[in-house]
C-alpha cells in the first residue's frame, strides 16, 4: 500500500510523513465520577472498524498539525466524510 494523506495545511503527502493518533473518541471526559471502565473505554478501547473510520493524524515531518480524516481501513484510502456521520 502506499498511504497518502491530505494534510489540511500541506495537501496530499506520503503517509509516512504522518503519525497515526488513534480512532476519534471525542474530547477528554471530565474527571469527576469517571469509573475505571469508562476511563479504560476512552483510553484503551477501540472499535477496530473494518471499513470507514474517523481518525486522528499528526503531520510529524511537515507542518506539525493534528487533524482528523476519514479512511477506509480495508483499502487504506482516504474517503469523504460519510453522509451518515454528518
Amino acid at each position: 500500500m502506499a498511504l497518502t494523506l491530505t494534510c489540511p495545511v500541506c495537501g496530499k503527502r506520503n503517509g509516512y510523513e504522518f503519525r497515526y493518533g488513534g480512532e476519534d473518541k471525542g474530547p477528554r471526559p471530565a474527571e469527576a465520577g469517571l469509573t475505571p471502565r469508562a476511563w479504560c473505554d476512552y483510553v484503551h478501547m477501540n472499535k477496530c472498524t473494518a471499513g470507514v473510520q474517523k481518525e486522528w493524524w499528526f503531520h510529524r515531518d511537515g507542518c506539525g498539525s493534528w487533524f482528523t480524516t476519514w479512511r477506509d481501513t480495508t483499502n487504506n484510502l482516504e474517503v469523504e466524510q460519510p453522509e451518515a456521520s454528518k
Binding site: M1, A2, L3, T4, N14, R19, G21, G26, P27, R28, A30, E31, A32, L34, P36, W39, V43, W56, F58, R60, G64, W66, N75, N76, L77
Partner: protein, 971 residues
C-alpha cells in the same frame, strides 16, 4: 557459432568484442549480448540444473520468467543470465550442480520422483523422531540454488531517485511509446519505463509490416526517436517496474550503463495516472519434458536470431498456439532455419497471410496438433507430436523445439494495484474486471495483436491518462476512442491447458520442479484453491515466481476439478522482478545529529554511542566503569555536553492551560527566577517525560524535556489539547542551544572566572535561574540543578557559541583539573542520588507514584483534566504494583547485575540499576519490586542470569545513597 551480423534488427555490436570466463575457459561475446546469449553463441546449451531433480535446463524465454539460466556471475548468485547484459571480464559459474551443468552427478534424482509426491516432506522423515534433524541437514544442503559467501561485499554504486510526474507509462513498446507521446501532448510530465535496454517491445525484432508497409522494427525505431526527443518525457530504459501501490505509486530499478554513475538505482515514481503497456509473455506449453534444453518459446527463438544474430538451432519443430509463433517460423526459415513441421494447436483462425507464407516455403503445418513429448536426455533430439486429443502421434527429429501454448498478458502492475482479476473467455486471459483508479491498459495486454490496434490503444490510453491527471484534452479522447474502435480488437486465445499427457514429467513450474501429477495429488488431498496448491506444492514460489505457472496453474485446477467455477487467478507479489537488496537500499543514508561540541568531544577521546537521533560521548576512557570521571565530579569539577536535552518555548494566552493539562504539577506556581521540576504522564499515569520549567513572562515559559522525548513534545502537547482550541504556541529550541553541565565542588570557582555575575549561594541558589551575557555577547540561560548531586550549573548557550563557552570554561578550569565526563559517568552519579531516568527505573507497569515522584502531583486541579491523573487516583491504593526502592547488597563486593530478578518462589521484581559505588564503597542500586517487598529493611533474594542456583541478597534501604540531605548540591 556464426552470427547473422547484417540484420537491421540487431541490438548487438558485432565488432565490439567482450570476453567472459566460464568453467575456467575464456569465451567471447559482443556488446549488446546478454551473458546467456554469449554463452549460447559459444555452444553452451545446458545452463543450470533444476532445484529438486537436477534436470538439465536451457534457454527458454529470454525474459527471466524462470531460473533456467540463473547462474553465478562474479560471485553473485542467481543472476538471470538471459537478460543480464554482458560486461567485459565477467566470471560465470553454474549453480546447484555436483560436477558440471552438463554432467551433474545428482541427475539420478530425476528418476526418484515417484518417492517425492506433492507434500512428501510432511508425511515422511519424522518417524522416528531422531531421523528428522539428520534429514533436515540433507534437505538444507540440497535446497537453495546459488551460494553467497558470508564475507561477500557487493561492489558498485547504488543510487535512488524519487520522481514526480503526471503520467507514468510502464512499458516502452509500441503501445507504451504512443501512450507516452499522446500524454505528452498535454504538456504534462511523463515518465516512461522500459525493462529492456532499448525501446521497441514486440515491434523491435519483427520484420512484418504495419498497415502502411513499414516493417515493425523500423516503426519502433521511429517512435523511439520521437519519444527521446520529446522534452517532457523522461525515458528510463533497462528499468524494471517492480511494485505498484495505492495512489499510483510505482517502484522500479534501473540497471546502469557503462557511462552511468550508478550500478543500479532504485526508482520511486508518484504520478497521478499510470498507463500499463507491459505486453505479453508466452504461456508455456505443458507436455512431457517440456523444459528440455532445446525447447524454447517462440519469441525467444525469434529474438535470438533477430536481436542477437544467433540462429537458435539447425533443425526445428514448432508447436504453437498463436500467430506470433507462425510469424517466427516464417522469419526464422528465411534466416536459414530448417523447419520440419509446424504444429498449431488451433484447428482454425490462423492468419491467412502467414499460412500462405508457410505454404510457399513448403513448411508442413498440422492444425489441431501439439507437442506431447520431447526426447533426448540433455538436449532435444526428437519430438512426438500428437493431435490435441492424443489420438494420433508422429515423431519428428529436431534440435530445436519452439513451444508456446499462447500468450499471457503481463498484468502484474494491475494485480499489485489491487485490481480484481477475472477470467476472460474470449482471450483466455486473466484481466482486470475493474480498473484501479487512474490506471489504464494499453496494447497487447488487452488481447489485441494487430500493430495498428496496438498503437491506437496506446494513444487512447495516453490521452485518457493525461485527462485523468487533470489535463484538458478536449475531444481528442473521444476521437482516439473512435479511431481505436474501427481497428481489430482482442483476438481469440488458445485454450489448450496441457498436451494429452499423464503429466509425470510435464512441468507446470520449472523452478520448483512441480509437475502436473503433483498438482493432481494436491487437489486430491483437499487443496483445491490455486493459492493453497501453491503453498502445498511450492509451484510458483521459486526465483521466477509466477512467471511460468501463473497462467497455467489456475487453468489446470479449473480443468481438473471440472469446476463449476471459472478459473481463479493466483496472486502476484512484489517485486515483479527479483531485486538486489543493494538496489533497494540505495544510498542508505545514516542521518544522525551532532551536538555543537561533537568535534571537541571526539578530540578529547570521547567514545561515542548512537542514542536516539544523536551521537553522544558515553565514555572518555577505556575504563567503562568511569572511575576517574566519576571521582573527578565528586571531588573536583567536570563538564558534560548536555546539548541533546529537549528545549522549548511556549507562549500565547493559553500556555498555562496547556501546561496544566500535560504536567502533573500545578504550573501556576512556577515563579520567575526559579526553576520548577515536573513530569508529564500518559493516560495510564506512567511518566513519559520529566524536565524543568522556567517562567519568562506571563504565559511565556522556557522548558526542557529528556533528550529522547524532544522529538515528540510538540506532538504530545498538541495531541492532548486538540479538542480545546486553546491559543498557545510552541517553539522547538532543542538545537538552538548547546548545554554545558558544569558540576562538582569547584564548579562555582570555575564559572566565576568566566562570568561576571554574583554566583554566591544567596544570589544564585539551588533551583535558581539566571540570564546573563558572557563578554556582553553570548546570551546564557543558567540553571542550578543537582542531577549528579554536586554543585551544578547547567548553561544553555546559543549553539554557534557553545564551543567558545566550553573552551573558556575548560581554560578556566585547567588549574583545578577540570575534565570531561560522559553519559555513563552521569548515569552512575545520578544513581547514587537516586535521581531516576525514565525507562531505566520506570517501565510500562509503573506510574508516577510507583517510581517515587508522587510529590510532583497536584491533585487539586481536576478541571485541568491533567493527563494521567485519573489513572493515578484509581490505582493509588492498589497493592502488588511494582514500586521503586533503593537496595544495598549484603555483600558490598558484589553488585548484582542489572536485570537480575527479585524472587521468592515467583518473580517479584528486578534490579533496574546497580553499581559498586566508588563514592560510598557500597554496592547499591534501585530495583522495582512488588509493593509488599518495598518496606525499608526487607531482605530481598536476587536471582541473576547464569547464577546456577546461587542467590544473592540485598536489603531495601533509604534513598538516596549519597548526600541524603542534599547539602553538597545546595551549598
Amino acid at each position: 557459432m556464426n552470427r547473422l551480423n547484417q540484420l537491421p534488427t540487431l541490438r548487438i555490436n558485432p565488432s565490439e568484442k567482450l570476453s567472459l570466463s566460464y568453467r575456467g575457459k575464456s569465451y567471447q561475446g559482443v556488446a549488446g549480448d546478454t551473458v546467456a546469449t554469449a554463452l549460447y553463441a559459444n555452444g553452451v546449451r545446458v545452463f543450470a540444473r533444476s532445484l529438486k531433480y537436477h534436470r538439465p535446463r536451457g534457454l527458454y524465454s529470454l525474459d527471466g520468467e524462470c531460473s533456467n539460466t540463473c547462474m553465478d556471475v562474479n560471485s553473485i548468485p542467481n543472476i538471470r543470465t538471459e537478460n543480464t547484459l554482458l560486461k567485459d571480464g565477467m566470471v560465470v559459474k553454474e549453480q546447484n550442480v555436483m560436477g558440471s551443468a552438463d554432467r551433474d552427478w545428482l541427475s539420478f534424482i530425476d528418476k526418484l520422483d515417484w518417492m517425492m509426491p506433492a507434500g512428501f516432506y510432511y508425511k515422511t522423515m519424522h518417524k522416528p523422531a531422531s531421523m528428522w534433524p539428520v534429514a533436515m541437514k540433507q534437505i538444507r544442503k540440497a535446497a537453495g540454488l546459488g551460494v553467497i559467501s558470508a564475507d561477500y561485499q557487493m561492489k558498485g554504486q547504488y543510487d535512488e531517485l524519487f520522481l514526480k510526474a503526471e503520467v507514468t507509462v510502464i512499458g516502452g513498446g509500441a503501445a507504451g511509446m504512443t501512450a507516452a507521446l499522446a500524454a505528452a501532448e498535454s504538456g504534462q510530465r511523463v515518465v516512461l519505463l522500459e525493462s529492456r535496454p532499448h525501446l521497441g517491445g514486440c515491434f523491435d525484432y519483427r520484420v512484418s509490416a504495419t498497415g502502411d508497409g513499414t516493417p515493425l522494427y523500423e516503426r519502433a525505431r521511429e517512435l523511439a526517436e520521437k519519444v527521446e526527443q520529446t522534452g517532457n518525457i523522461r525515458v528510463f530504459k533497462h528499468t524494471s517496474m517492480v511494485g505498484a501501490y495505492n495512489n499510483n505509486l510505482i517502484t522500479g530499478f534501473q540497471v546502469g550503463n557503462a557511462d552511468d554513475v550508478f550500478t543500479e538505482r532504485y526508482i520511486e515514481i508518484r504520478s497521478n495516472s499510470v498507463v500499463v503497456a507491459t505486453g505479453c509473455i508466452e504461456r508455456p506449453l505443458i507436455f512431457d519434458h517440456n523444459e528440455r534444453p532445446g525447447v524454447m518459446q517462440a519469441g525467444c527463438a525469434h529474438r535470438m536470431a533477430r536481436t542477437y544474430g544467433l540462429l537458435p538451432g539447425s533443425e526445428a519443430v514448432f508447436s504453437v498456439g498463436h500467430d506470433l509463433g507462425l510469424e517466427a517460423a516464417v522469419d526464422l526459415f528465411d534466416l536459414g532455419l530448417k523447419i520440419n513441421c509446424v504444429a498449431d494447436i488451433r484447428e482454425d483462425g490462423q492468419n491467412a497471410e502467414l499460412m500462405l507464407a508457410l505454404a510457399e516455403r513448403k513448411i508442413p503445418v498440422l492444425k489441431g496438433w501439439v507437442a506431447s513429448k520431447a526426447h533426448g536426455s540433455k538436449k532435444v533430439e526428437k519430438v512426438t507430436l500428437s493431435t490435441v486429443e492424443g489420438t494420433v502421434k508422429r515423431d519428428f527429429p529436431c534440435d530445436l523445439l519452439v513451444a508456446s501454448a499462447g500468450l499471457t498478458p503481463v498484468t502484474g502492475p494491475f494485480i499489485l494495484a489491487q485490481a480484481k482479476m477475472g477470467y476472460d473467455s474470449h482471450t483466455g486471459y486473466f484481466l482486470p474486471t475493474e480498473l484501479p483508479a487512474k490506471m489504464f491498459p494499453a496494447g497487447r495486454i488487452t488481447g489485441i495483436n494487430n500493430p495498428g490496434s496496438i498503437e491506437a490503444s496506446g494513444r487512447l490510453a495516453g490521452l485518457k491518462a493525461a485527462a485523468a491527471a487533470g489535463a484538458d484534452m478536449g475531444k481528442t479522447v473521444a476521437d482516439a476512442e473512435k479511431a481505436a474502435s474501427t481497428l481489430p480488437g482482442p483476438e481469440r486465445g488458445c485454450k489448450l491447458v496441457t498436451a494429452p499427457v499423464k503429466g509425470r514429467k510435464s512441468f507446470i513450474c520449472f523452478d520448483e520442479d512441480t509437475t502436473i501429477k503433483n498438482i493432481k495429488q494436491a487437489i486430491d488431498m483437499g487443496f483445491d484453491v490455486p493459492e493453497l496448491i501453491k503453498r502445498f506444492t511450492s509451484a510458483g514460489t521459486g526465483p521466477g515466481q509466477g512467471g511460468i505457472p501463473g497462467h497455467n496453474l489456475p487453468l489446470f485446477v479449473a480443468k481438473y476439478t471440472a469446476s463449476i467455477n471459472t478459473p481463479v487467478p493466483t496472486t502476484v507479489r512484489p517485486p515483479l522482478v527479483p531485486t538486489f537488496l543493494a538496489t533497494y537500499a540505495g544510498y542508505n543514508h545514516h542521518m544522525f545529529k551532532h551536538t555543537p561540541l561533537n568535534d571537541s568531544q571526539k578530540a578529547d577521546g570521547g567514545i561515542f554511542r548512537n542514542i536516539g537521533v544523536w551521537q553522544r560521548a558515553r565514555y572518555f576512557s577505556d575504563d567503562f566503569e568511569c572511575k576517574e570521571e566519576i571521582l573527578n565530579v565528586r571531588n573536583n569539577v567536570g563538564m558534560l555536553d548536555g546539548s541533546t536535552l529537549g528545549k522549548f518555548r511556549i507562549h500565547g494566552p493559553d500556555a498555562l492551560k496547556a501546561f496544566q493539562r500535560v504536567y502533573v504539577s500545578d504550573m501556576s506556581k512556577v515563579k520567575e527566577g526559579r526553576i520548577k521540576y515536573s513530569a508529564m504522564c500518559n493516560d495510564d499515569g506512567c511518566v513519559m517525560d520529566d524536565g524543568v520549567v522556567v517562567k519568562l513572562g506571563e504565559n511565556d515559559y522556557y522548558f526542557t524535556t529528556s533528550s529522547g522525548r524532544a522529538g515528540q513534545t510538540v506532538e504530545w502537547i498538541r495531541y492532548h489539547t486538540r479538542f480545546d482550541g486553546w491559543d498557545f504556541h510552541l517553539v522547538n529550541l532543542t538545537d538552538a542551544m548547546g548545554v554545558i553541565n558544569l558540576s562538582g565542588p569547584n564548579a562555582r570557582k570555575v564559572l566565576a572566572k568566566v562570568v561576571d555575575i554574583d554566583l554566591s549561594n544567596e544570589a544564585f541558589p539551588f533551583s535558581g535561574y539566571k540570564e546573563f551575557f558572557i563578554k556582553d555577547t553570548i546570551f546564557v540561560r543558567a540553571m542550578r540543578l543537582g542531577f549528579v548531586g554536586e554543585i551544578s550549573y547547567e548553561l544553555h548557550v546559543p549553539s554557534s557559541c557553545t564551543q567558545a563557552v566550553w573552551d573558556m570554561l575548560k581554560e578556566a578550569g585547567a588549574e583545578f583539573g577540570i575534565r570531561n565526563f560522559g553519559v555513563e559517568a552521569q548515569n552512575v552519579l545520578r544513581m547514587e542520588k537516586c535521581h531516576i531516568i525514565l525507562g531505566q527505573e520506570s517501565e510500562q507497569r509503573t506510574n508516577l507514584l510507583d517510581v517515587g515522584l508522587g510529590f510532583l502531583w497536584d491533585r487539586k486541579k481536576a478541571d485541568a483534566k491533567t493527563v494521567g491523573a485519573v489513572a493515578l487516583r484509581q490505582a493509588e491504593k492498589d497493592v502488588g504494583r511494582l514500586k521503586l526502592v533503593g537496595i544495598s547488597m549484603e555483600d558490598d563486593t558484589r553488585a548484582a547485575r542489572e536485570g537480575a530478578l527479585i524472587v521468592d518462589n515467583k518473580v517479584r521484581g528486578y534490579v533496574a540499576t546497580m553499581r559498586k559505588s566508588f563514592t560510598t564503597g557500597e554496592a547499591v542500586g534501585m530495583a522495582l519490586v512488588e509493593s509488599q517487598l518495598a518496606d525499608k529493611g526487607t531482605r530481598l533474594e536476587i536471582f541473576e542470569d547464569e547464577c546456577n542456583g546461587v542467590r544473592l541478597y540485598a536489603r531495601v534501604v533509604p534513598m538516596p545513597f549519597y548526600d541524603p540531605t542534599g547539602e553538597r548540591m545546595k551549598n
